[in-house]
Assembly symmetry: C2
Homo-oligomer: 545 residues x 2
């Protein structure tokens, strides 16, 4: 039932998202009934096919045998079914074998799949990201060879970025690519590669950054596709060094790979690797936010159901009331739910805006939308991740001792979610991106568009909370000016980057709470949590001063 509840919540939020209405206008081929059927079918697939794998993925996990990763029983078959049903290539263009659906629909479905088995979905996410990357950078032949195979789940792909000395600092990548008789050969070590090896597909293509010239930092980096097997079926120079032993996500093998004169295909222009990668990183940030949302959604549902059943307290000579009737438990559940639904509203908002940024007929509109989503993505990436972890932890607290046991999946959600605020850019990196690129470099255009949207929605709102939201608008507007001034003293600014990002997210939470309350989406919980968002905004604003 709760998968369908999540589908219903998602569909209600799509309807409440102004940009989604615009996307539908621009995509007359889509009607509401189709979208509803897709999201409900995703819920059924997640619950029926993926969810049964989640515990075994955690308990047995992935192992290494004869230098290859062995995935849990059932993984290969589920991955095949996932691709076959079209889910993997939902938002890949039809010309490449995908379904060509809007990102907003993909982002509505993905948290259902992630909820069911976030570890296995790391494989699908990597292949999907590679499809987008190849579509935007590869030559026609490579596209035609690879993308349909990836969409079909016959082959898989990875994204390799980090190296031992190059984590957050990609400019220190040492892997090199040399052209030799018209063939690029890549040598170096890459780490933190999700599904860097596995037994689910016949071939794995590695998308990676390597240094092709002597320019320091990111300017010398180019993008390559290096498959584990060459076209003739022989092994390429890609060696699995190890998989990491982790706190969670045991069902996602995190690989260290060594490239030894591995043949690779140059993607796009030489020396343009990082900027070409960036469009894909934006997709992955949204996806990370969706992963956090997925685990937060599951934790909310479990805690609410448990609290309605578990009875404690009251007069000792009378039957105990459900703990869901105790004031402090009501508070806990409301805050969990509101934090979760704000993230859901945020994911929907950004995905629909990204759709518009791709298909609006007017170039100026597309550019403005690009600024808006560029500003919002660090937020949804980080606070989606934090919601996953914090709501899972809050769910454990509601359940008490049993929440700490493996009799319930909350402890797995806590373990699985802890990495989300680290990979695809840590919290610190998102905060620095927001401040130095979106505010200082871009002059805060994306922020201004965010404030315009929020203002329009808050001004039009009729709920009583709107008055306090208007005060919040004034607070955040003033903060915008203060942060802009800090461009002159960047060190001071960087000290405040985290508080600034949190202040902005508190404001976005206030804005999207107005949307939720107006639309009657988890209205009670959101109303109860609203003063918390206001108080958090004040706190973070104060810490920026």
């Amino acid at each position: 039932m709760s998968y369908q509840d999540q589908a219903a919540r998602t569909l209600a939020l799509l309807s409440a998202t102004p940009d989604w209405r615009r996307v539908r206008d621009l995509r007359p081929d889509l009607d509401d009934a189709t979208v509803t059927a897709i999201v409900e079918e995703a819920a059924a697939f997640a619950e029926g096919v993926l969810a049964p794998l989640n515990t075994v993925a955690d308990r047995i996990g992935c192992t290494v045998s004869n230098g290859r990763v062995v995935t849990p029983d059932g993984y290969g078959e589920a991955f095949r079914q996932f691709a076959e049903a079209g889910w993997l290539g939902m938002d890949v263009a039809e010309e490449h074998g995908g379904m060509g659906l809007p990102l907003a629909v993909q982002s509505a479905c993905e948290p259902l799949f992630d909820r069911a088995c976030v570890a296995l979905m790391m494989a699908a996410g990597a292949s999907r990201a590679a499809c987008h990357l190849l579509a935007s950078t590869a030559d026609a032949a490579t596209k035609a060879t690879w993308i349909p195979k990836l969409v079909a789940g016959d082959w898989a792909a990875t994204i390799c970025i980090s190296e031992p000395e190059a984590g957050s600092d990609v400019g220190r990548i040492r892997t090199v690519a040399r052209e030799d008789g018209g063939i690029w050969r890549i040598s170096g070590q890459k780490i933190w590669i999700s599904f860097g090896d596995h037994d689910m597909t016949a071939r794995i293509g590695h998308c990676l950054l390597a240094r092709t010239n002597a320019a320091p930092g990111t300017r010398g980096l180019s993008l390559f596709l290096a498959p584990d097997r060459l076209d003739d079926g022989s092994r390429n120079g890609v060696v699995l060094e190890r998989i990491e032993e982790k706190m969670g996500l045991h069902g996602s093998p995190t690989c260290a790979l060594r490239f030894e004169d591995a043949e690779g295909i140059l993607l796009g222009a030489e020396g343009r690797g990082l900027s070409q990668l960036f469009a894909m990183i934006e997709h992955m940030r949204l996806q990370s936010g969706g992963q956090g949302l997925a685990l937060a959604s599951a934790a909310c549902d479990i805690a609410e159901a448990y609290a309605a059943e578990r009875r404690q307290g009251g007069a000792p000579d009378r039957p105990a009331p459900p703990i869901a009737s105790h004031p402090d438990v009501i508070r806990q559940l409301a805050l969990m739910r509101a934090r979760t639904e704000v993230v859901r509203a945020g994911v929907t908002e950004i995905a629909a805006a990204m759709d518009r940024a791709a298909i609006e007929p007017d170039a100026a509109d597309r550019e403005r939308l690009g600024h808006f989503t560029g500003f919002m993505l660090p937020l949804i990436k980080n606070f989606g991740a934090e919601a996953g972890f914090n709501v899972a932890s809050a769910g454990i607290q509601v359940l008490g001792g049993v929440g700490f046991t493996k009799d319930w999946p909350l402890e797995q959600y806590l373990r699985d979610s802890r990495i989300i605020s680290i990979y695809e850019g840590t919290t610190g990196i998102q905060a620095i991106d927001l401040l130095t690129r979106r505010i200082w470099r871009d002059g805060g255009i994306g922020f201004d568009i965010c404030l315009e949207r929020a203002r329009a929605e808050i001004e039009a709102a009729t709920v009583p909370e709107a008055a306090r939201a208007r005060e919040a608008l004034a607070t955040i507007d003033a903060l915008r000016g203060a942060m802009m001034e800090l461009a002159a003293t960047p060190e001071k600014g960087l000290e405040r980057a985290d508080s600034f990002m949190r202040a902005v997210w508190s404001f976005v939470s206030i804005w999207l709470s107005i949307r939720l309350i107006e639309a009657g989406c988890d209205e009670d919980a959101t109303r109860r949590a609203f003063p918390v968002f206001l108080a958090e905004l004040e706190m973070h604003d104060r810490l920026c001063r």
Copy 2:
């Protein structure tokens, strides 16, 4: 090295704690050199004997074989050495075979042991708690038989409270005790019993609450000691049902026991079980705070050391600087350290006050000190627990991807610490205790004493932060009045209990930060974090209104 650093920090804080000076005046048998030697020796013992067990305790954990719990290799020997060195009975009276040291000294050492292997220390903690419980409730013969054996580590003990239908709500305990020919026989099921069974000692005594009369709620409960073996060595009616599969603390077997007409010794007066237990619960709350402090201390040290070594960022053609030089990392490390040291100051403050409450010659002084510690214990229990979890999580964030792996112990600290804010009374229970008992029932006497102490220290302080601390005093004083008024509308009060507890802790953090800064204890980190404590106080205060 870091164990000795922790010892040094602890000793510096003891010196800075006014009540500790008074304890030394009242205990002329103790001199500074002795106390220093004890704490440093505890650090060496923790590092040398206990720490090597921590990983194996987590990875292999406890198992059940032939109906008995099997502990990890080395546990029995370490437990024996721990007791033999006198650590188990440090603060147990000398007449019972203990060392008769102040609680402040015990509380200085315990976080060193917990840091090294918190799971094994759950066994020592239970035996020690039982020593105190027996000393205050048992008849002379039982005391003479049991306490020296427990102190020596020949026997062990447990505290059994929870049952499946009686978790936070102890008034619903169903286990019954019937007197039959002068012998009490106990029947029922108990759960969440740490080290409810194990193979480290020849005998295990279970301290438990059982119902001896028909009075509803807690009034019908009496306290018993039921050993697993009778005096003649035969088995008593105590059956191990299972051990829980948990997220962490794998090295501490969490047992479900069934009592089947088990013989037990009545401790103290019939029907007075819960109130008799309460003195011991106070000890266990302090101990829980110390466990959180232990894991936070370890996480800080690891993150600081890692950040000083790990190099990222800076100009790509120059060697990378250590990440400890990046503004956002400086911020993260300072907040971790300050949150940790505030808890250390709090544990020291309360332990010294509990010592005074036991030995001050004037009864009125003792009563006032009892009110103060009663008010402070829910705070240190909960925020010690939260510091353990949050600082471990923050440490993972500083390390990035490697923090999520089992190559570092931070992920184990995170998993181990998650239960601390649940057992011995959840966060919600502590918040309700603070508001309903310490404020409404006691008229806020303990709070007033806390404010008096804080005021005296802040007024005398010379550091620039003192001015802001005085404003915080005014804020919390006003909040005291507002919360008192809510006694008339308890439902409204209970909705705010969590925010109230957090506001008080923010204030206590401000007060103790002044102490830390004045004394030069982690002055830089505390100074950097000070504005965060001020902002948090404002936020929680606002949410109480």
